[in-house]
Symmetry: D2
Subunit: 338 residues, 4 copies
């Protein structure tokens, strides 16, 4: 950590900072410049509480030099981590497209969806039984009954399932129904108690980026899961909040190469929630794969116009199929397959 003292800082204020750094078990290196005195903390700076240093008299600012994340950081684990989901590998050379409807509605809808998802070449299926809705008056999902329908439909096609956990009290139910991948939604990225609990399971977790989370906060949220012992974490970029009103969220495509540099864990993209319109999905999906994503989470619906939520962003079965073909081409250019 580097501590920059204000130009008016006194010698005794400088001593105060040095003393505090030493209390944290670090050494201090003082460098007296022309306009500022700078104090460097030498040792494990992660043990130093930056806010406490900033509050000391005479301090102008301080900066961490090392990254605050550890288990999830590529710095400490150079190889890509490949997550095994009932034999399906995510994070390796093969790109995985996870398809399925926004919400579980009926058994028939799920059965048809599963068939189409499989037929398009996807190896994993998504679907929401518990839905985070802005309004308390909107459809909130079919709940446990939905899990049952989903399990049945996906099993018939041999597809592992991905579904969102919103309430920590439902975790046991998720484990009972053997949900294959637990999704943590954007609104819960910093629901720390939920992160801690899924960190105590060994289920793969898709951690969606918070609405306006920085890459660093996102990595730290993953660190919460990892610190509990569960390293099966998949990052999912789904667009962030911006000033633009034409579309729902701004897909942060730059986050893909950035995450691939900062972490060894897989990175996927949800192009459906990003744009919010089905017609944007193919372009965003191609961009995500071209930028290096390890997979996609794509909404489809057997009959989009009859979907119970997010109807406007679901692909129909034919659109999903065509998209898969384009993506295969791009994957090959990058030396990957799909």
């Amino acid at each position: 950590m580097i501590v920059v003292m204000s130009p008016e800082a006194t010698e005794s204020q400088i001593d105060g900072v040095v003393k505090k750094i030493k209390e944290y078990g670090c050494d201090a290196n003082i460098s007296r410049g022309v306009e500022r005195t700078i104090i460097g903390a030498i040792g494990d700076e992660r043990s130093i509480d930056q806010e406490l240093i900033d509050a000391l008299p005479g301090v102008e600012q301080s900066m961490h030099i090392v990254k605050p994340y550890k288990i999830v950081a590529r710095e400490w684990h150079k190889e890509n981590s490949v997550i095994d989901i009932k034999g399906i590998k995510l994070g390796g050379n093969t790109i995985q497209v996870i398809g399925g409807p926004c919400s579980v509605e009926t058994q028939q809808q799920m059965d048809e969806s599963a068939k189409f998802v499989k037929a398009a070449g996807c190896r994993l299926m998504r679907g929401g039984a518990f839905k985070p809705r802005t309004s308390p008056y909107s459809f909130q999902g079919k709940g446990v009954e939905g899990l049952e329908m989903f399990r049945k439909a996906a099993d018939a096609q041999g597809l592992p399932i991905v579904t969102e956990l919103m309430d920590v009290r439902m975790l046991d139910t998720f484990l009972e129904w053997d949900v294959d991948v637990i999704q943590i939604g954007t609104r819960n990225m910093q629901n720390f108690d939920l992160l801690k609990e899924v960190g105590h399971t060994n289920k793969p977790v898709i951690l969606k980026r918070g609405m306006s989370a920085t890459v660093s906060e996102w990595l730290m949220a993953a660190e919460y899961i990892a610190a509990g012992g569960n390293h099966n974490i998949i990052f999912c970029e789904r667009g962030v909040r911006s000033f633009e009103t034409y579309y729902r969220n701004m897909l942060d495509v730059t986050a893909i190469p950035v995450l691939k540099k900062e972490t060894h864990l897989p990175v996927i993209v949800d192009p459906s929630h990003a744009g919010g319109k089905a017609w944007m999905v193919p372009a965003l999906s191609r961009a995500a794969i071209a930028a290096g994503a390890d997979g996609l989470l794509v909404e489809m619906h057997p009959k989009p116009c009859e979907a119970w939520c997010d109807a406007d962003q679901a692909l129909n079965p034919d659109e999903l199929k065509s998209l898969m073909i384009e993506l295969k081409g791009i994957a090959q250019v990058l030396g990957r397959d799909i």
Copy 2:
């Protein structure tokens, strides 16, 4: 609801929209303009699922005409709601400043804090026993033991207590310790299960704005609480995420008059988390009161340099006292007291 058809929309697509609107129990009014045909839904448009309309063929865009919130809306409840917290009124003519440390640390720290808070003229006290921290390796709060210390210290001064609930499983403990005001933090503004549960109590709830929540989403989050039966809701603006890096969050002072127009519920401001630096707190506090806020949530610490978290944003007891005097002056200009 207004549905704008695309210029190429066919008659049968227009009929499709009209049919769907009627399925929702509304009537449809068709207006054929020069460049676009527009369909108006007449009736209770809250029953119409906008995403489903947007997904219909030929639809260019649709717009809600009425606000989606109901119980919390001033449109349906013209008078200001005044929340009663053990006899202290929030939302009336008297402005309430809720002071206290970021975290509960020790009994002595809480005892001293309570004394200083009381001496400065505050009638309510804040303090965190469960702390949402970006890093899993940071101090996470004293937990239940902290609630006990807080209760004891505040009771000695006759101050009702405000503290943050992060985990829905801790609600019973909060009720046991008779927490007077439950705070929902910024990261949990859309933790819908948590909102539903506090909606089933009758405890006053401070609902902090999400990091990048729109005013409309924030009102809808409150609607979740209200829909459960608990109308004792206090909005707390605490700064939003922005591109500016000089300070932590951008205090959205405009949200104050906007909320006072849209809702009958009280609105307070947290100037400490907004700016993130103690030296910014007085200016932001004055601005908040001048803009019409009903109260403040201000961090103070008996010895800021020794605080265990957010040290840099806490006022010391003298600073809190001086601030209260300035705020009283501004309150009087607005015909209020403090």
Copy 3:
């Protein structure tokens, strides 16, 4: 235009709005709903000043139904426009990568750059003679002398040149040196006098998106140029301002399909200024082409470590060459060439 009256609006206020709409030469359609009265303006709503309507008593809000842009809109010009730059076509099936250094530095640097740009397969060259720099104390570009060096180096390789015009008073000089494509930088996207002047030339114009311009504002800025008679406009997405601090700007990849839908004009991407780091450029370039961009504006430098500005974002000649090969692969998947 749709005008929503507030619930308390009186009949005379409704009449007032109708009267005003008629003054603008439009007809009015009144629809009385359960909670709101809505007035639709029928006719050319572009002639109505929305702010004036919003200011009328009893008006709650108003909404435009048609897009405010006209010449640049695909609605009125279905085919893609292809811009001809000295025989090089931009906006057609062939993707154009415009390479070159951030700044013109020396004749030798430009000569080498031109050679490498040509060798990599680019058909157009970029380079800045006038540099917009945040600090008045930073290198401001070589000016006219730089134009001369650039012209000479590019002519030797038969490459048309792209360079930024910042000051309206330099336009004649640009025309004298026969700059082939005039670039309007992000800080000048709404420098309306500059837009008007380039609108009176027939030179192709690259219009970079403003730091936080919406797609609609950007299209309207282009409309300024088009309204002057110059329809040779190329949109360039270069990242927008966001809360993320890991990289310089957030590349808005969604803007690519959105613009391709809204306008018939070509859309290119500047991946270098977006990320701000050379190592991000290949991923962002691939994403841009995969999302449907018609070209790229890529910074390269014969020796990046010695560049005079933006050194950190320039590719070296080998990196540019490898990138071109990857991009060719992606272009082919999309049925295009490069």
Copy 4:
């Protein structure tokens, strides 16, 4: 400047950085930590080009320690600067409210406005003769004829005038009409050629903040003016772009105390363009003054419903008068007058 080397940096890469730092005339201090080697540049770090350092092999990141602004910085000029506008002082103990219409429309409108502005107690008048409009089809201002009307109306009341300069070629005309304060609008905050030219005059300049400019960029834009010799600069916060759609811009009230700390120059606020609605203006105006602003730029119109632009944000004469009374009360609480 602090340069953090990556963990894999070699000795020769470290030497390379040290050599480069010395080329800039600085000394280098090497500090070898457990995880990173850090190099501090000692001397005038403003002379070092950060981007060039970042591009050197082995560099992970670099950080400036001193602020890049100099003439405008309070660090080098502790006292508040007071700007003299024909005898009216701005930046001292007296708060100045600059009132007037958005646009100059007719002589009568300006005459009435001037009378009402004066009657309300304002000592300076604003009005736009050249209007930056998003659409080329909107009213663009009365131009030079408008300057003449404005001059005449204001002179009759003895009010110095404030008006916006958009085009560098109009500067001489502004000087001819003896415009008392030149306003640089938000879209031109980084129109560097315009800034340089007004920097060569001695006219007071109101520099509005760019739509999404950081405080640091804003100070650097002022530094452009100051570097030309003109130190009569007034910062004007007018709201920044955000994700919120309820109002036009988000007034950044925190920027007021931040600027007062970073610069000795006066800071005013434009509450009209921030909120975009007249009913928000009083609350935002009070907040601005309470936060420490030295003045306001407030839109008024003798008959808002007939204004030619921004009608919806103008106060009528009575509203302006009432606002002035409230502001006087707040000013007094802060020991100032108005």
